[in-house]
């Protein structure tokens, strides 16, 4: 009866996997040190993140998965679902011990769960590509604050880097309080301490907005209103594709005035 605790990072988690094999002491649970205390009386082993150990486990996983699914475990981990660690752990035990690839064995509850969870994470990442909206600030920075359901900004930062290569931008996760800053040369993970934006809607304070920003938002709202076909009104379909939780970040969905 042992519980491994780690720092909540993917690297830390992979280090845990390494230790369970290294110590041949298989856990009843693996949980983040910072999460809630589920096991008051169990024996605990606290794992320090170790890049080299994590890397060995990662390589081991890569050897066993096809290219199509080589990110499966990472995506599923980013879901931050309760208990995801043990599901991944059970999956990896099977993966490492069996001869044939098990990643398509959807009759197995863990395989199916990880596959479906990683699909949900991918979908949320896709929604970032869709619903991120940049606001232009006086300093010339393009800013977006948003709150993805899963921790997906690491999955989409390179998309924005490629696309907006000549733009200085900052993409910020309002809930997890960190973001990615691109300065036209390199991409950097950052934490902002003095925030000149609403931590709820991501709206940049008016006094730091670039002149012209408001005008473009106005044009966009007006365009959005006029491209709609009244006779085909279908609000349910609209909500289905564009869930309500994103509306507060979208200028076109803020009340027209």
């Amino acid at each position: 009866m042992i519980i491994y605790t780690y720092d909540g990072t993917f690297e830390g988690f992979l280090t845990c996997i390494f230790e369970t094999y290294n110590r041949k002491n298989f856990p009843v649970d693996i949980c983040s040190r910072t999460g809630e205390q589920k096991h008051l009386f169990a024996q605990k082993f606290d794992v320090q993140s170790d890049a080299a150990k994590a890397d060995r486990v990662w390589k081991g996983i890569q050897n066993k998965l096809t290219e199509r699914n080589n990110q499966l475990v990472f995506y599923a981990f980013l879901s931050e679902e309760n208990g995801i660690e043990m599901k991944i752990y059970r999956f990896l035990r099977r993966l490492f011990s069996e001869h044939f690839s098990i990643e398509t064995d959807f009759g197995d509850a863990d395989v199916l769960y990880l596959t479906q969870t990683s699909q949900k994470v991918k979908k949320e990442a896709m929604r970032m590509l869709q619903f991120v909206r940049f606001q232009h600030t006086k300093e010339g920075l393009w800013f977006c604050g948003i709150e993805p359901r899963y921790d997906v900004l690491p999955l989409v930062s390179t998309h924005f880097q490629k696309r907006f290569a000549d733009q200085k931008w900052l993409l910020y996760d309002l809930k997890r309080n960190y973001g990615f800053l691109f300065d036209k040369v390199k991409l950097e993970e950052v934490v902002i301490s003095s925030k000149e934006f609403s931590t709820i809607t991501g709206q940049v304070n008016e006094n730091v907005l670039q002149e012209g920003e408001e005008f473009y938002q106005k044009l966009w709202k007006s365009y959005f209103k006029h491209i709609n076909i009244q006779e085909r009104k279908n609000l349910k379909l609209q909500r289905q594709h564009m869930p309500r939780r994103f509306w507060k970040y979208l200028p076109e969905m803020l009340i027209l005035n």
Binding site: F106, L112, R133, F164, K218, N228, R232, L237, H241, L250
Partner: protein, 430 residues
Amino acid sequence: MKNEDVQFKLSVLADAAKYDVSCASSGSSRKNATKGIGNGVACGICHSFTEDGRCVSLFKILMTNHCIYDCAYCINRRTNDRQRATLTVEEIVDLTIGFYRRNYIEGLFLSSGVIKSPDFTMERIVQVAKKLRLEENYNGYIHLKAIPGASQELIHEAGLWADRLSVNIEIPTEMHLKRLAPEKDYKGILLPMNQIKNAILISKEEQKKYRKAPRFAPAGQSTQLIIGATPETDRQIILLSSGLYKTQNLKRVYFSGYLPVNLYDQRLPAFNRPPLVRENRLYQSDWLMRFYKYKAEEILSEDQPFLDLDIDPKLGFALRNMQQFPVDINRADYEMILRVPGIGVQSAQKIVMARRHRKLNSLHLQKIGIVMKRAKYFITCNELPASTTDWAPERLKRKLIAESVSKNKKLSDTQLSFFTDYKPALPPMH
């Protein structure tokens, strides 16, 4: 840009552009090689959804809604007394870049009414694309309308800057096109379409030889058919669109349910709501041909010229061909599994992969995401039929309709959810 002016023009020209339903930004993986702004993403990205539930991917706009022609089905016909506006090349470029930098859009879809002459109009359309590519260093998506009657040189140049080109057929038979738009004919439409098809083929061949060869409309070409303005049958429409996929290599054929824009015109049918259910059934049929490997003739037979509005065409096919069912989930070919109502592309792929590891039972299927309420009448798994009674097709049809009606009781026919069971497999992430 003069502010009020632009805002006014934008609203008039968005209004005028909304009838073109194409908005897809897919099929291009143009790289931001110049380290400027923009790139293509092969699966396309929708950035917003308007109240009608349609996707906003491209900034879809007319350059002008002035037009020298008088097509009966078009809101912009010259005899309509409407507000008219024209955006300059610079204004369109500024708007596109301004929207793109904010991640509002995936690119530009530029169309136009015809001013002065087809060449005069096409030349301006081409200028916009050229300016975006060369001066703004823009590598995002561009879809241009090829104006019938424009010179071959201009259309060729358009293809060098654009990702996709389209020529709209609009009316599914030439006879009715001539009735509603006497100034147009199929020859004028097919000419640029053929030219584009050939140029795409040639450029693909040359790309194979040397990678730096200029690309011509790498995301292909598409067209649009208006549904319900003229009396063509669904069978005629489906055969036309499948013919277009084959002979013109079109990437997409769009269907646009006719909106009664010119009610006064006696040549048009007098209804005041667009035929949305029919349009949806046609899209489903189109989906079946493109992703489910159905042949056009399988969807509608000669003695049945219209699609059943009560049920989707895939269920319709299954009910007409009960002798091909039940399908054994653990053994049948992928193609047959795809044909089971309630099983989509993703689920079918999962089934075929999963059954290599173990025999699947109905619990597995449910977890994988199969709509068992529907599928159970058409499958067996683990040698057992999933449904215990033998159903006559007519009775089964009524039962399934009743079930889906009670579920969607409150929805009117304008509230269809598109393609519930028709989604293609998820595109890979980048």
